[in-house]
């Protein structure tokens, strides 16, 4: 029987896929709606966003043991963030579909509103998993929300450049702001895990990932956006690269947190039992940083 925290085996890459598709898709839906007329083609952006969210949900369907009972997921809105996420989904897809058909309009705002709620549900869903220290840390909530927004802005920037050949400056600025917020959220999240204590292997995984993430997922896209915005219009081609780096790093972040750093609580004794003539000694918490 294992004592030290071991990696949970119930949620794998398919679960990470739900957070990746859900976060990226809802983020894109939000920024596509915010862009309004400044992005020439709302339809394509919305379609891609809805496909991403749907792919995430299909990943979940592929993971659950009894997919034919999937509708039971709607039975516990009182406390389950998974139910709440599922309940928002039909409204998200309904409004998104109408907005796509209309090419924007008032339903795009409604779709964006439901996207915000969906993204929030996803963040809370992870934080409610009390058995996984890397997830239950409350600072994972702003991290998951901010990375969803980064991915959305990154996708909007990249798709805008690919579909219409132009990216509004405010959108590039929004990507930069979202990146800065995510940088702070990652910093506070990582520091909280270290200061409160976490499974040693969780900290190892996050430390290994953190270096690359900060360099290629944060600093690189931030510099590219700054260069494109402030060093002359001839560098505007850097924006889709920045968007892609920001988006892909967000997906890597979620994959790492959900499928790589998810070591469980393990076991601990606050005090060791007195056996025979022994005396009380402090307990043990194998595999933890503190």
């Amino acid at each position: 029987m294992r004592l030290m925290p071991w990696h949970q085996s119930n949620w794998d890459a398919r679960a990470a896929g739900n957070f990746i598709g859900g976060g990226g898709g809802t983020g894109l839906l939000i920024f596509a709606a915010l862009a309004g007329d400044s992005l020439s083609d709302y339809r394509w952006q919305a379609v891609i966003a809805l496909i991403l969210v749907a792919t995430g949900l299909l990943c979940v369907l592929a993971e659950i043991g009894r997919p034919f009972r999937a509708l039971n997921v709607f039975l516990h809105p009182q406390t389950s963030w998974m139910t709440r996420e599922a309940m928002v989904a039909p409204f998200l897809f309904g409004c998104g579909a109408i907005a796509t058909w209309q090419g924007g309009g008032s339903f795009s705002a409604l779709a964006a509103l439901f996207a915000v709620i969906y993204l929030y549900c996803q963040a809370r869903m992870l934080a409610a998993a009390k058995g996984i220290p890397a997830w239950r840390e409350p600072k994972s909530i702003p991290l998951m929300i901010s990375t969803g927004l980064v991915e959305g802005a990154g996708l909007a920037v990249t798709l805008g450049a690919l579909l219409s050949g132009a990216t509004p400056k405010w959108l590039a600025g929004a990507l930069l702001c979202a990146l800065i917020v995510r940088r702070l959220a990652w910093k506070f999240y990582s520091e909280a895990l270290v200061s409160k204590g976490a499974p040693g292997k969780t900290l190892e995984v996050l430390a290994r990932f953190g270096g690359r993430f900060t360099t290629y997922g944060q600093s690189l896209p931030e510099l590219l956006v700054i260069a494109a915005l402030f060093l002359g219009s001839q560098l505007v081609w850097l924006l889709p690269l920045a968007g892609a780096a920001a988006t892909l790093s967000g997906w890597a972040l979620k994959f790492t947190i959900v499928a790589r750093a998810a070591y469980n609580q393990g076991y601990a004794l606050p005090v060791l039992p007195i056996r025979g003539q022994g005396r009380a000694v402090p307990g043990v918490k194998p595999g933890w940083s503190k």
Binding site: E63, A70, N72, V73, Q265, P273
Partner: protein, 214 residues
Amino acid sequence: MTRYIMTADLRRCIGCQTCTAACRQTNATPPGVQWRSVLDIESGEFPDVRRSFVPVGCQHCGDPPCMHVCPTTATYQRDDGLVEVDYEKCIGCGYCAVACPYQARHITHRVEFAYGEPMASESARFDARRMSVATKCTFCMDRVDAAKESGLTPGVDPEVTPACVNSCIAGVLAFGDREDPQSNVSQLLDETQHFRMHEELGTDPGFYYIWDKK
């Protein structure tokens, strides 16, 4: 009100795993799935070393995180404190398993038996409803429920007491009603020093570990 709990006197446990075997025999859990198991913890440095044996499993928490996250209400808490799973409702999403800080939940997707072909006990107790859904220790719910008809007392009469408690050769495990001050477990806890695992997580576990006399 009734709150059934279990106690484990860690001063007595010798790590024989009889409780584990009894649980597997009673509940016919598949290979690799142990609703009740015993940790063997070595600690300290020579010459001051310790060895502790710690029975673990579902703690039947008073505030169970597995129940709160369950999207289907398959995980529910009974009036007597037992936390159970409705196999017909569960979709096997695994959310409860990642929400449980005691690693007490198991999901198996393949029919497996200890020696390939099912033994008589496995055949008799095989339950297809348990495939691809969350399973865990039930505190032998069926036995506890039988007490209502027989008038026997869970934790006192073996017929209505969990199998692991009945089987324990060292008198480590005890079961009973924490809300009844006269119950075996209440009296045991009154006389001893005890803790609950991961209590800081606010789950109000229903499994008490006794580590010394008062």
